[in-house]
């Protein structure tokens, strides 16, 4: 099983779009996928239109319990998009976990994934500079994908996220823990490719200089945002196909 976290320290950097799209195209390829929505804003949960099986049984239950072994399997709910795509939903109260100072709370998400029936787990992270939620994802994941828009904020969000990851790795090395976190690269989403602004060009160049830029760049299509209102998969519409095509190519780079 591969666990991928999609991360940036900037808001609006296409984290949720990338996480949901990667989950959908991976499911479309026939793999069993579980998308873990770790963002208290619950944007991915709202987009896919899923509800917890029972009140309170979302990712906050996992993070709020000292022994959540195997709970991700119990909490994952099926989606109407693909039969092999399930979601561990999020909720606003997940934000309470950011004040949780319990010992080893950052290992609970990883513990909950034990025994899960999935080939790929994708974690949609909140835009936090470290902290319990980000640490939970870093401990659970073996692959990290940075998401960025072609903007100054997008570049800044990736730079900050890489700093957090570097600190996490340094801490792991200090205690002699294995370093199994693979940085797959940077996805640049919602790129207005027809008329690209100077800022967009400069931002993409700056991301390219990291040596981690994944291609192709994901083109901007209005239908992607529109689908958030209708809770549908944009891949079912002709106008969304260029975006699906880009994410499918990226998925082949990222998913083992």
């Amino acid at each position: 099983m591969q666990t991928i976290m999609v991360y940036s320290e900037s808001g609006g950097a296409t984290k949720t779009t990338s996480a949901v799209s990667l989950a959908a195209v991976t499911a479309a390829s026939g793999r069993k996928v579980v998308l873990v929505d770790l963002d208290p804003r619950a944007a991915a949960t709202k987009w896919i239109g899923v509800e917890p099986k029972e009140s309170g049984l979302h990712v906050g239950a996992i993070l709020g319990d000292p022994d959540p072994e195997g709970w991700a399997e119990d909490l994952a709910v099926g989606s109407s998009w693909f039969p092999n795509l399930r979601v561990v939903p999020s909720a606003r109260s997940v934000s309470n976990r950011e004040a949780d100072r319990a010992d080893h709370a950052e290992l609970r998400l990883k513990t909950s994934l034990m025994g899960i029936d999935a080939d790929v787990v994708i974690i949609d992270c909140p835009n936090r500079q470290g902290g319990p939620l980000t640490l939970s994802a870093l401990n659970a994941a073996d692959t990290i994908v940075y998401a960025a828009g072609a903007t100054v904020d997008g570049v800044d969000g990736v730079a900050g996220a890489r700093r957090s990851v570097e600190q996490f790795r340094t801490s792991r090395k200090r205690i002699g823990a294995p370093d199994n976190l693979h940085e797959a690269g940077i996805i640049v989403g919602a790129v207005a490719s027809t008329v690209m602004s100077r800022i967009a060009v400069a931002s993409i160049e700056e991301l390219r200089e990291t040596g981690m830029l994944l291609t192709p760049l994901v083109p901007h299509r209005t239908i992607v945002q529109e689908m958030r209102m209708t809770q549908e998969w944009y891949g079912e519409y002709r106008k969304g196909l260029p975006v699906v095509e880009a994410y499918t190519k990226l998925m082949k780079e990222i998913v083992r």
Partner: protein, 175 residues
């Protein structure tokens, strides 16, 4: 010997079922002072000194007034109250907090007392909620603007009243 791959962690019937986080019903930004004053010492009401000037090195009445509100606050349940309940609690607590330290020296002005009681009466009745209004942003001629300001100044009507009266006179009421 049994292979490691078939060894299970624990019997299935002993596996813990998922349950919501203990603070699931607590909104992350819904700050409730009641929960923070539960552990506050001395729930007994504090009697203020009749003459603040004779207090010497002690703190003034404004500082002492703070614990006086504690009993009322700690009596609240720990759960997050409804917004209207919170308003009601605040309105009820406010006169006590103000009146206790200052009453010996000078009673609260009648105007303040009546305002407080009026606020309590109006904000707690669902039937008297504020009317729903909508912003109207448009440009008008200098003449109309002058007329509106004149009406506001001379007759004491608000801009909203002036506009609504004019519209109703010309086109009637939709109610």
């Amino acid at each position: 010997m049994t292979e490691a791959s078939v060894i299970k962690d624990r019997p299935a019937q002993l596996r813990r079922r998922p349950r919501p986080a203990p603070d699931e019903t607590v909104d992350p930004v819904d700050y409730n002072p009641a929960t923070h004053t539960q552990a506050a010492p001395a729930a007994a009401p504090v009697q203020p000194e009749p003459d603040p000037a004779s207090a010497g090195g002690e703190q003034g009445p404004a500082v002492e007034a703070a614990p006086a509100t504690l009993p009322a606050t700690t009596a609240e349940p720990v759960s997050v109250p409804e917004p209207e309940t919170a308003v009601e609690t605040a309105v009820q607590a406010a006169p006590a907090a103000v009146a206790v330290p200052f009453e010996p020296q000078a009673p609260a002005p009648a105007r303040q007392a009546s305002r407080a009681s009026k606020a309590k009466a109006t904000t707690n009745k669902k039937s008297q909620r504020r009317e729903v209004t909508f912003p109207l942003s448009t440009r008008v001629s200098q003449e109309i603007l002058d007329l509106l300001y004149d009406a506001q100044e001379n007759e004491g009507v608000t801009l909203r009243d002036a506009i609504e009266q004019g519209v109703r006179m010309r086109w009637g009421s939709a109610r």
